[in-house]
Symmetry: C3
Subunit: 116 residues, 3 copies
């Protein structure tokens, strides 16, 4: 089965599609000076845009892996996340604490979705 890649650089691809499944890279906010709510919003916007490159959308999410730089931000991240999820179409999810590559990045999210 063929592999389709989008936004491919020497280190990673932002979008990889294979066998009807769409794999996105871990996404972080473009502006890491924002508080957790703003960073989460930027991450979810970015996920929307990258899902669209593969011709799919957030109603077809399968899983989400969420890393928070500080697990104490969990509830505040969730207020933005919960508003973004399509009712009845929530993915399987795990959320844990890990320090991220950017020292002021507070949240990173990596999703897998079904192709359209």
């Amino acid at each position: 089965m063929p592999i389709e890649r989008h936004q491919t650089g020497p280190r990673m691809s932002r979008v990889v599609v294979h066998a009807g499944t769409v794999y996105l890279a871990g996404m972080t906010a473009d502006d890491p000076a924002l508080p957790i709510e703003g960073q989460t919003r930027q991450v979810l916007d970015k996920i929307d845009r990258h899902l669209a490159m593969a011709g799919t959308d957030k109603s077809r999410l399968l899983t989400a892996s969420i890393w928070l730089a500080d697990i104490a931000l969990w509830a505040r991240m969730n207020t933005v996340w919960d508003a973004w999820v399509v009712p009845g179409h929530a993915p399987a999810r795990a959320t844990v604490e890990s320090r991220l590559a950017g020292p002021t990045h507070l949240v990173e999210i990596m999703v897998v979705a079904a192709a359209a």
Copy 2:
């Protein structure tokens, strides 16, 4: 290809099935006052129950991601894990340390399995 979801709430689904693959949410113990052995047992029981909702079982596990709140609990978690795995049917696995959303949760496990 259609997506099947079970135990779907506004934040996540506990079980998502697509293209013959079953994705479970990260599972934690219902009683986080238990020591690591008891928490691991509760998590694995929960995984068994959720795999059954998708009509599959632990003999068809593909991968497991395990997070321990303290990596020093690794050997004690493994005694329960090793007894649970169906001989000859162990999944690919990674185990790392991360703080979890519940402050007294010691272990979280997220698995992917093949549908029956």
Copy 3:
């Protein structure tokens, strides 16, 4: 659909194949006394060998999850990673900090690939 497993022990399989997708276990260096560059090289060699057991190779990577014991090692890990990736064939990727099971292991990498 059948499941194919390689290097299966009581705790985990190193390679699991299902529905055209190859899942590898999280890999760490055989010699954890090496600095991050040497450990990354050993991990990537190991990934090459295990992909070969499933009849595939690094040009068909879909995703990579990378855990660093200290996120400050990110740039040094990347020099080895970037040289290893097949140009135009980079996987989706996420890299975060987590303590690993071996106290001197600095990097663990878990990949998913497409079968050939």
